[in-house]
């Protein structure tokens, strides 16, 4: 009789210990995944800043080519100003989208300027900016991958129980392409004649 009680107590003890180990392991993986997602978000910012840093150089290289002084160049400088002066993340995002559009315009318009296209500085800038655009896209992609990992983790059974217990069960938002960005960028050749 005593032996059975002891055996039962032991079994319950083992189960409790296993549960505690599982809770610790799950809590830790929740923390790690959340930090990975936060890091992924900051990577996007780093690339956006890199792009903004390249702009003055681009403007200088392009300024000497007469017709460029107008609309297209103004778009770029306005966009950069909008980013730097933004007071909320939403305003900053709007500025970033403006800049993406403006850069597309510059490179499209540059197709009509063979001497500018052949300029080594311009070519280097083109590669840098296009690579930075890729990096922004990949950083956003990776962030979304991390968000997917996080959201799935906090919703799956039995991890969702632990997530609820520790209050770490808030879903994160995916990064979505802005409506402005999705519309086709209109390239204006009117001031080139």
């Amino acid at each position: 009789m005593d032996g059975i009680l002891l055996g039962l107590a032991l079994v319950i003890l083992v189960i409790v210990v296993l549960l505690i180990i599982w809770l610790i392991a799950t809590y830790n993986s929740l923390i790690v995944t959340e930090k990975q997602a936060e890091n992924a978000w900051s990577q996007i910012d780093i690339q956006l800043k890199r792009r903004a840093d390249l702009i003055p150089n681009l403007v200088d290289t392009v300024k000497g080519y007469a017709k460029f002084e107008n609309k297209v160049l103004a778009e770029v400088t306005n966009a950069r100003a909008a980013i730097l002066g933004a007071k909320t993340p939403k305003e900053a995002a709007k500025g970033e989208n403006m800049l993406s559009g403006a850069l597309k315009s510059i490179f499209a318009v540059a197709e009509a300027y063979p001497t500018l296209k052949a300029n080594t500085n311009f070519m280097a800038l083109q590669e840098e900016l296009s690579s930075t655009e890729n990096k922004i896209a990949f950083a956003r992609q990776f962030y979304n991958d991390m968000v997917m990992k996080w959201n799935t983790m906090i919703l799956k059974f039995p991890t969702n129980i632990a997530a609820g217990m520790f209050g770490r069960n808030k879903e994160k938002e995916f990064f979505e392409a802005n409506e402005v960005e999705k519309k086709n960028v209109k390239v204006d050749f009117s001031d080139l004649s």
């Binding site: 990975q36 992924a40 690339q47 590669e127 690579s131 950083a139």
Partner: protein, 304 residues
């Protein structure tokens, strides 16, 4: 409806585990028969010699694993390149590292016009990626990105570690069977004074056949694992770039190119993106090939 890359990755990883399981079963069966026979002939004195050899094999494998980046680059004559001289290459690798969350590996170039690439290093922090000059001049940016994504996937999936373990297992299997063959040749000169000599001879024959076949089967399993890992790397590359066409068209360009890579040899062939030993020993192509047929890989990528 073809599998998306998530499914492909998990399918291929499962297949890898199955293959490793087959490996252990094979070695288990062999060891059992081995010890059974040893018991009857000599008692347990020779087991310790096997352990020494086994330990040496594992030691060599571990050393080569930790030094894999140095060894392979030295053997291939690759040279490290900086961002100043190879800006586009560095940019593409940086882009892919952002997409995969990997730290940036060291980048090397082999001076050969053949199109090929490899990656090595025991973990992402000690990784090396290498491309040939042929890659840089004959592939466009999307194709080069696909190839590099495939290589980075090998690093991300710890394939060097997987293949090292597989190689160690082959080493053990080879040693076991080698030892067994030697035992029989020495043992057959003693008098066979054990009971049930009929059953005995049967067991002996089976053991000898197994001893000869084991290295072959072990190698075949290793090659099967290697092929599966190639498919996983292709799928992971698509996960990184979200652009299957880049890698698919790069593989197409590679398949049309008949130039063998001069610095590659049988020891390093499995590391490259495409089998560099073109045209040599074509009979090896199926069960003994480290890479799946390129047409299959392109089919998996394009879904047609």
């Amino acid at each position: 409806m073809s599998m998306d890359f998530y499914d492909q990755i998990s399918h291929n990883k499962k297949m890898t585990y199955v293959l490793f399981l087959m490996f252990f079963v094979l070695i288990g069966i062999l060891s059992y028969i081995f010890s059974f026979v040893l018991d009857l002939y000599f008692g347990s004195g020779f087991i310790f010699i096997f352990s020494i050899f086994g330990i040496l094999t594992i030691l060599f494998a571990v050393i080569s694993y930790y030094q894999s980046d140095k060894i392979v680059t030295a053997v291939s004559g690759a040279k490290e390149v900086t961002k100043e001289t190879h800006k586009v290459l560095h940019n593409i690798v940086e882009e892919l590292c952002l997409a995969s969350g990997l730290p940036k590996p060291r980048i090397f170039v082999i001076d050969d016009t053949a199109i090929n690439a490899f990656a090595t290093g025991r973990d992402p922090e000690h990784a090396v990626v290498c491309v040939t000059v042929g890659c840089l001049t004959r592939l466009n940016r999307d194709q080069l990105q696909g190839v590099l994504a495939h290589e980075l996937s090998h690093i991300k999936n710890y394939d060097v570690r997987t293949m090292t373990i597989a190689t160690v297992l082959v080493g053990i299997a080879v040693l076991l069977s080698d030892l067994m063959i030697r035992m029989f040749f020495y043992g057959s000169f003693r008098n066979s004074d054990s009971k049930n000599s009929g059953v005995f001879i049967a067991v002996l024959v089976v053991s000898i056949i197994l001893a000869i076949l084991t290295p072959i089967i072990a190698k075949m399993i290793t090659f099967a694992i290697s092929r599966k890992r190639e498919f996983v790397a292709d799928a992971s590359a698509v996960e990184m770039t979200r652009n299957p066409e880049g890698l698919a068209s790069a593989l197409e360009v590679i398949s049309k190119d008949n130039e063998p890579l001069e610095v590659a040899n049988k020891a390093t062939a499995h590391l490259y993106i495409a089998n560099p030993l073109k045209g040599q020993k074509l009979w090896m192509k199926s069960l003994f090939s480290t890479h799946p047929p390129i047409e299959e890989r392109i089919f998996a990528l394009r879904g047609r």
